[in-house]
Symmetry: D2
Subunit: 156 residues, 4 copies
């Protein structure tokens, strides 16, 4: 819980937290596709960010409040990604987000996007290892406040 | 139901159909906002299209199948829109979509986007009257097949 | 020229101002298209906003500086749009922006997007009448400072 | 030159090819930014794709024609990216794209996005190593036709 914020202020999160892994379902709309008939590659990063945002909301951190109350934003520093298969219009996707490591001013997450299949036959589409850093109002890396860090630690 | 398609083939729709009006909740993420600190104006059209897509799915029409099985796509022909208040990061929005009129090759819809408030105090943000036409594989306006038209008529 | 700003501070504008009409060429990339094989309808609003931004830069107004030095942003209040033909991948488009009217806290513009053809055979694709308002740091409509208003008046 | 295509059919490319490196200038608009006041991280991938597309156009390959005449599209398979500094509204960016390696069904490129500064003081913002594969109409990896491969080889 960040200062000035109580859990009752937080809007209901989407998705579910299963142990260390957050699971968010996402539907593919026309806006997400391109003329190749598949999801435009950069849009997997939008989906991944929705997954990270909902994982944070599930543990009591809301990004808008964090920016307003503490002047902190999270920014992507590094990422490596692998595209295995393509998603298409109307697909139901599952974004899985796992916190891998907490550092002083950043966190590492592993994310996977799959297509929801019949039964348990989900198909892996996209893997993403992403390093997200905490940035202060001056645009420089900022150590996470201990309350914020404590929220993350519950996930490990 | 379009030919070759059964209701059991349709993935579960998001949102709910209340009489003639479909209601879809949407969360605002960083991807939707701009440096003015609010939702980028063109993104309300993305939200509105999600609302129309889920309304169609709720009555048994899936856009990807329609394109594959019949070569038909829906395209926006005309729209007029009004922005009343701005949405911000983390807001919960409600997209309401009402079918207003069915013509031979097009439909008219009224859409409203509101911010979910406490109790029933939703705030109107955006109004959109939109004329959507059916287009065939030749890129020209196409009359809607009677099965498709019949699906729409259930909404009136 | 807004206070604290000199023309030499302004980066070079794209496009050209022909009398009251600004003309901006735009290329269609995969990011702009959707699985229908054409430009996604909401993206014409992105193109139109690029046209307005470059028209402003051509007369000495830069949106980022306006926000930082005066706390003012321009927001879309109303718009009506008509889609005549669809743009496709690799098309060269022309965004034409004409200032139609200046009011105390807002301006009206007419915009047209065409596909560049051989010779003078451009094809009209999209017409947009848009009402853009000046908004202050409190999120409310703000009268335009007279220097800003004076810049716009040169266009009439 | 792909079959059925002559260099005179190709629209004029943006940017310039300096030896093996293509250089494309890009302006940052409101659509590219987010509520953090900076360019949304996924949008660097859109900018990078514009750079790759214009590099291809400069050597006589147009993506829309390639898809229509040969049924081939290029898809991103892998990428690793590093964000060094953030771009902001109104920034002039430079996308540099260098072909690093040609394989049978894919190519590797190195891309860098910088902010255009005064004199030669450009600031590096984003580095991207990207592996792009050729995909056939069946959605599977496809060997590049020798004419297409030949075009790429001119860049090495």
């Amino acid at each position: 819980m960040t200062p000035g914020q109580t859990s009752s202020d937080i809007s209901p999160a989407s998705g579910t937290l299963n142990g260390r892994t957050h699971v968010l379902p996402i539907r593919v709309y026309y806006e997400d596709t391109d003329a190749g008939g598949i999801v435009y590659h950069a849009n997997y990063l939008r989906f991944a960010e929705r997954g990270r945002t909902e994982m944070l909301r599930a543990i009591g951190i809301e990004l808008g409040r964090l920016r307003e109350s503490e002047g902190l934003i999270f920014v992507v520093r590094k990422g490596d990604m692998e595209y295995l298969k393509a998603a298409a219009l109307d697909d139901c996707l599952i974004v899985e987000t796992t916190l891998a490591e907490i550092r002083g001013a950043s966190v590492l997450l592993r994310q996977q996007i799959s297509r929801l299949g019949d039964g348990d036959a989900n198909e892996e589409l996209f893997n993403f290892n992403v390093h997200v850093a905490c940035m202060g109002p001056d645009g420089k890396a900022a150590r996470m406040p201990s309350a914020l860090r404590g929220e993350f630690e519950k996930l490990l």
